[in-house]
Symmetry: C2
Subunit: 139 residues, 2 copies
């Protein structure tokens, strides 16, 4: 995605978040990288340009973003939380070898039977695990 700083600021302001330098950088990182980065990945990428960055800020900012639904948490493996700047409904495929997370489209997310009548559904998640084509070839 080719997002200007201005676009990102507007996006944040729409959700009543003051677009500080750090916040813009973190959101840009999530919107431009489609690789569903971990906190560590984001931190390491940004700390190059902003040496004073603290990992706590990355954590704080991401949970701020999640709270207003401009970012989503991807919980696939227990030990590593990943984040997604794309909040539209879609599935994730995580390669068990290279740990890459791929997106995939889902025909329809209305596939449950009536088991859940009476439940208030806030969030739907679909993820697969397996081996990606790249790793299937490289063995």
């Amino acid at each position: 995605m080719n997002l200007s700083t201005e676009d990102i600021k507007v996006h944040l302001l729409k959700h009543n978040i003051k677009p500080s330098y750090h916040r813009v950088a973190i959101l840009r990182c999530l919107l431009s990288n489609k690789d569903h980065p971990s906190v560590d990945k984001i931190y390491n990428e940004l700390v190059k340009e902003m040496p004073t960055l603290s990992k706590t800020t990355v954590y704080n900012t991401l949970s701020l973003f999640c709270g207003v639904n401009i970012v989503r948490v991807i919980t696939i493996e227990e030990n590593e939380t990943r984040y997604d700047g794309d909040v539209s409904d879609h599935g994730h495929f995580k390669c068990e070898k290279c740990k890459t997370i791929y997106d995939f489209q889902i025909k329809s997310l209305d596939f449950e039977i009536d088991d859940l009548s009476g439940f208030k559904i806030n969030e739907k998640n679909v993820y697969y695990k397996g081996i990606c084509p790249k790793c299937l070839n490289n063995k």
Copy 2:
């Protein structure tokens, strides 16, 4: 479910796992409780009957079971892994209030478009989050 010790032993042996006392107890716990317990829950339930039980054993045993696919990991929240003795394809709904995990049936798990041709899919997971009917009423 009304499973005899004998049934459980046979089930384990089918997967080349020696049915030790602890293993049988842990598997029984998962098969009879439909509440998708955490390690802690399993440990606390079993330690009453077997006071020497170690939490490490619960961890070891569960990963042994997962390795041969008689138990599945449910990763919904980052901070608490839950386990499921039902390995058939179905979805999970986790109540954000009471933390209960409910099962629900899925019409079909073949809902991805062809995005994943060339991928080797080992595992499909669907989970929702929200508020269960019980908690919706109790506010």
